[in-house]
């Protein structure tokens, strides 16, 4: 295919330069810097560094807290993705059926996406507060049944729920768009063929939504690894006893609180590689199952 092209290359260069500059300054440069730091020992208050090769990575691999953090991150990614995509799918199917009031909640459901993660975290901290929140009534009946401050599983569940809630809006938009892109005549044809509502969802809508679901899976998993800092920071600060110590939160803790820039940089590199590998595997093993034409 022939493309339109600029005869004056410098105009094209000038037009893309601002964008490239932004990407370079805020993405490639820090990444390159982190990569460099990961192989050096950086002084906490500046003033030079020392090349240490793979020692930073070695220290991380030998650190049991790090492996705990990886485990927690994987659990968080799995369940928050499952929960948010599940909720979004149910809501989108309801909205697509144009049940009463769908115009209202179609808009209403999109708003949470515009709320910043720390705000979400703060709001859920009140809701899930064991002594004053909504679930505190349970504690009145069965004392101690809900205790995210002391119980690590409860804390992780709480963080997962908040993270999922924030992602629901985004997933909802895509699922709804995906559903509305399915020709209405297909669901009508299956209705004529004798399928009830649930059967139509299962046989027609879900299979045809597979490409959308795959896209959302990749985005959600990536997001839950890299974008969950705000929620953890406001809700649990990684506790109790590192039960919610997600990788991205540990990077922040080790780097900015522990002033171990080099260790944090090495962890960032590992996280980046982990997300890349995960994405690769998703494309390799799931993507080819979702395309049907």
């Amino acid at each position: 295919m022939r493309r339109a092209y600029f005869k004056n290359n410098w105009i094209a260069a000038a037009l893309v330069a601002p964008q490239l500059l932004i990407i370079f300054v805020f993405f490639y440069w820090p990444t390159a810097q982190a990569l460099y730091w990961a192989f050096t020992l950086e002084q906490p208050w500046g003033g030079g560094n020392q090349w240490v090769g793979l020692e930073n990575f070695q220290a991380i691999v030998e650190d049991e807290y790090y492996w705990n953090s990886v485990m927690v991150s994987i659990i968080f990614a799995f369940f928050s993705t499952l929960l948010s995509m599940g909720m979004a799918l149910v809501l989108a199917i309801a909205a697509d059926r144009q049940l009463n009031g769908y115009k209202f909640y179609r808009v209403g459901l999109i708003w949470p996406y515009a709320v910043a993660a720390p705000a979400v975290g703060l709001a859920f901290r009140f809701i899930f507060n064991p002594s004053a929140g909504l679930l505190s009534h349970l504690n009145q009946i069965w004392p101690g049944i809900w205790d995210p401050i002391m119980n690590g599983d409860h804390a992780l569940a709480m963080v997962i729920f908040a993270g999922a809630w924030k992602q629901v809006a985004y997933n909802f938009i895509f699922f709804l768009a995906g559903l509305q892109a399915i020709p209405r005549s297909l669901t009508e044809a299956s209705a004529m063929d004798g399928a009830g509502v649930l059967r139509r969802v299962r046989d027609i809508q879900l299979p045809l939504l597979a490409p959308t679901a795959f896209f959302l899976l990749v985005i959600n998993i990536t997001d839950s690894f890299t974008d969950s800092f705000g929620i953890v920071d406001t809700m649990t600060a990684g506790g109790p006893a590192r039960a919610t110590d997600l990788m991205v939160f540990k990077i922040y803790e080790d780097g900015f609180r522990g002033l171990d820039y080099s260790g944090a940089a090495a962890q960032s590199i590992i996280l980046m590689l982990l997300v890349m590998v995960l994405t690769f595997f998703q494309f390799r093993y799931i993507e080819r199952r979702v395309h049907y034409t």
């Binding site: 297909l186 209705a191 004529m192 063929d193 049907y292």
Partner: protein, 376 residues
């Protein structure tokens, strides 16, 4: 028994009424075609029969049972959609067999029935393909196979041929006709294509703006259109409609330019002196002076060659007219030439309501025209 009785059925979307109290009885095994321009409510009516649209007023009964509140699956209809609506993620066999699968019919029987339907529609070699790998005509066949497999009481067709090219359309038309002869299921076919309607229908229903204009056998509708709408909608090129006035004697219609068209006296019916719309089909006009000397003249500007005849375009009484001439008279353009109307094929319509005047066809006068032609 699957006759369909439609009683004063209405459809509104909010304040907009799109179907205005339609009455229609479709007999068991009949092939009825609903014909009309876009937006006339024909598809809506079909979808109300299918159960895909709620009925705003009136009732629809299939096989004597009122179906207003029944789900589509409870009505025993199968439908062929305009865009085929094949399930893109299923193979041809799965598409055809889907209804049986839902009905809980076992795998072995399902396979046998899919096989027999596939043979009937000539797709037995394509059962493992996905719809995306089929041509338009093959997809159309799959859609029909999917409808056939349930052996429904009623077939509904929603403009099923309009996405096909001209040649395939003719072929599929014949296949649908064959299918109907074999299965003898009640069929309702919606289209905006008058050729499809004329060729397929046992009876056709002409709709306009949410009302039924006329119901009848194709030849009746063609020969005796009930209104100017039907007259101009059916026939290609359409019927010429000329404004005029019945003379006091009731033997002529005077056109805008003062020319007199003789009409059979039976048509006058006490409308002497009143304005009327005179209709004449292009093929009922011919060259040459009329026998009685009451010569009509028209001026022609150009012609279109059809092979089986020629379409002369011109004006008569200030109106554009078209004459379909099958003789080889050398064309004369730009000056008035003699033409003659077949008086037995004249149609008169009320100017205000557009309804046909003189219910009886002029066909009885056919002899007169033959003699007339002989003397001309």
């Amino acid at each position: 028994m699957a006759d369909i009785n439609i009683r004063r059925v209405e459809k509104s979307y909010g304040d907009t009424r799109v179907v205005h109290g339609v009455d229609l009885d479709i007999r068991d095994g009949e092939f009825v075609v609903i014909l009309g321009p876009s937006g006339c409510g024909k598809s809506t009516l079909l979808r109300m029969i299918a159960g895909l649209e709620a009925i705003s007023g009136g009732e629809i009964a299939i096989g004597g049972r009122v179906v207003n509140d029944l789900e589509p699956r409870q009505r025993g209809c199968a439908m062929v959609f305009q865009n085929y609506a094949l399930y893109p993620h299923m193979s041809v066999a799965e598409n055809i067999g889907y209804a049986l699968k839902i009905a809980g019919i076992g795998k072995a029987e399902r396979r046998a029935r899919v096989q027999s339907v596939a043979t009937a529609i000539g797709l037995e070699d394509y059962l493992d393909r996905r719809p995306g790998q089929l041509s338009g005509g093959q997809r159309q066949r799959v859609a029909m196979g999917r409808a056939m497999i349930r052996e429904p009481k009623v077939f509904l067709f929603d403009e099923p041929l309009s996405n096909l090219d001209a040649k395939l359309r003719v072929q599929m038309r014949l296949e649908i006709r064959h299918l109907h002869q074999r299965l003898a299921a009640t069929s309702v076919f919606v289209t905006h294509d008058q050729i499809e309607a004329m060729t397929l229908a046992d009876r056709m229903v002409v709709m306009n703006q949410g009302n039924i204009e006329q119901v009848g056998a194709p030849s009746d509708v063609y020969d005796r259109p009930a209104s100017t709408f039907v007259a101009s909608f059916i026939g290609s090129p359409p019927m010429n409609l000329l404004p005029g006035r019945m003379t006091e004697s009731g033997q002529h219609v005077e056109l805008a330019d003062g020319q007199h068209v003789p009409i059979p006296t039976a048509l006058a019916q006490g409308r002497a002196g009143r304005p009327v719309t005179l209709g004449i089909r292009p093929e009922d006009i011919r060259h040459g002076p009329a026998a009685g000397g009451s010569g009509l003249t028209a001026k022609f500007d150009f012609l279109e060659e059809l092979g089986m005849g020629r379409l002369f375009h011109g004006t008569l009484g200030g109106q554009d007219i078209i004459m379909h001439a099958t003789d080889k008279t050398p064309p004369v353009f730009g000056t008035a030439v003699d033409i003659a109307f077949d008086p037995s094929r004249l149609h008169l319509f009320d100017v205000e309501t557009g309804k046909r005047l003189a219910g009886e066809s002029g066909r009885a006068d056919k002899e007169q025209w033959s003699g007339y032609r002989a003397t001309a």
